[in-house]
Structures are given as structure tokens and as C-alpha cells.
Symmetry: C2
Subunit: 161 residues, 2 copies
Amino acid sequence: MNRQATPSGGLDDFDLKILAILQRDNATPQREIGKAVNLSAPAVQRRIRRMEESGVIAANVAVVDPDKVGRPITVIVEIAVESERVDLLDAAKASFAAAPEVQQCYYVTGEADFVLVVTVASMAEYEALTRRLFFANPNIRRFRTLVAMDRVKAGLTVPLA
Amino acid sequence: MNRQATPSGGLDDFDLKILAILQRDNATPQREIGKAVNLSAPAVQRRIRRMEESGVIAANVAVVDPDKVGRPITVIVEIAVESERVDLLDAAKASFAAAPEVQQCYYVTGEADFVLVVTVASMAEYEALTRRLFFANPNIRRFRTLVAMDRVKAGLTVPLA
DNA sequence: CCCCTCGCGATACAAACTTGCGCCAACTGA
DNA sequence: TCAGTTGGCGCAAGTTTGTATCGCGAGGGG
């Protein structure tokens, strides 16, 4: 085991460099990655596979521009619940997670209980979503809507080392 | 022009189906995509290329699990500014966008002016970030921190049609 | 001191992508 | 109505890319 100086997760510097490249563009040929990190293509391939199997790489996806597919509106929603009973929270989580308009959902501490990032085609659609997800759930005490005027930055990139 | 019934963007049903697949897994072979949508592999390839060039597909990336690379903490930050002067807002946007810990940044209407999604390794790192991004900027009036206890759902998937 | 294990590099193979070509359908304008 | 034009599809060949196998060298433990 010569994977040296691994601060966490069993990843060495090679893995981190490969991840950084894949995070930016996962269509990069393995040979090119190998050249960039001074490793052979098969070695790169083995490391990628290992990271996919271990879940370090959770998915390989295409990022779609919401504006270009008729979904120009992003809203952030803060939600406060009545009761923090586990079953009720789980039900809320499940309903949020099941909605395709909900890109992201975080259960948080602080003045709110949930924060949602939602993509919709129109405010009418958002209004319909509020009925379906919020007003229909008696455990939701109130929610606060913040409409995004500018999507300054939107990604899932994780800083590496 | 037989691209029929295109509600927006010049995309037909084939394109949308292809997008739906690529959004879930962009390593899917084109041949397999072709079989799924009843098109030949080259046709799929042409459509993908066109969508990449037109920006419908903004990027092809690997999604990295933050937990697995030593960044277990996600926080949502709401920021209120003093002045809405354009140059000051742009400066703030630029500073947020430049920070690698900031995954997402939205400029919003409502009680807050910005919403940030931030990934950090520890609260100490977050504290350092607040100094660097918030306290160092006199135009930031106040900020509210919501620490995520559960990342219920986190993606960039856009609902299609 | 030797053996065992593990990872890397090189090569060979298989699969996927990419390109060029001919065909067909739909739109345009006379 | 009909010819011209445009744009997309499928097929097949060429090329790139990904994948498996082998042997080698470097630690670690018996």
C-alpha cells in the first residue's frame, strides 16, 4: 500500500487531480488525463473505476441549462414545520424529494427547517407547486419564497484538498 | 424542418428524451440511447453535438460526494447588503463566484439579497470563510447561516416537458 | 531472507464514437 | 402543381477510446 499521505477516504494526490478534471469535464479521454497527471491510461482507468465503486464519484451527468429548456425561473424556498416528529419530517422529505421541480432539498438547523431550490417554467407553475407540496401538508407552518433574479453560480463542484 | 411541436428552444421529443437520459447518466452509450428512443446512433450523436454547441447541455461532469472527500458540512447562507449599487453588487457576485467553497450563488428578491450554498470541511473553515467573504466586505449588512443536517436531495436535474 | 501482495506500465483487443454518402420527406416559390 | 432546396436519417467504413491481460518492480510480513 503505497497510497501516501491520504488525509481522508483513501485518496492520494493522483486521485484528487483526476477528480478535479472529471468534475470539470468527464468526457476527457483517459489518455489525456494520464498525460496531465503523469500516469498511464490504464492506471487512470483503474482509479476512476475504484472511485465510482466506492461512491466517491456519485454520478456522471450532463448539466442542462434551465433557460434553454423553458424553465427560466429558480426560486429558493425556506420552510418551517409545526412538529419535528420524525415520521412527519420523513414524510415531508419524501414529498420534496419526489417532486421533479425540486432540484435540491436540505434539512437545516436555524430559523428554518428546510431549504429548497426549485426550478419552474412560470410563477403559475410555482403557485401550483406550493399548493401541492406546502398547503396540502398540515405540518408545514409557513414558507418564505425568494425568487432568483440572477443565477450567479450553480454547480456541484467540490473543492479538493 | 420536421422538428415538430417544439414548445421552446427548437427541441423536439427526441431531444428531450435524450436529455433525460444524459441527465441521469451521460456515460450511456449512444447506441443504447438510440435503441431507447428509436433512432440510430449517429442521429443521437448529431443531436447531442447540436445541444452541446447551442448550450442546452452546459457541461458534462462527474458528481463528487462531498462526504467522501472530507467536506461533510453544507451550509446555506442568506445575505443582506447595505447598498444595491450595481458596481457593489457585481463586486459581491464576483467574490462569491470566485470562492471554490461556494457551490451555488443566487441573487434573489425578497428579504435577503443573496443565497449561497457552501461546502466546508469544518465549522472552523466556515468561520474563516465568513471573515474572508462577509466581514471583509463593508457592503454586507448581515448574514444568516443555516447548517444542513441532511442533504435530502442535491442535484441539478431539470424537469423536461 | 524469501515470499506474498499490490499497483503500475505496456500491449492487444473490443467497443464506441465519428465521418461521409445516398436517400427520403417537408417546405418554398414559381 | 411541380421542381428546387433544405435538413435529417440510416448505413458502413475509419478512427479514437475504453478495457482486459500480462509481466515487472516495490514494499511488508513470515
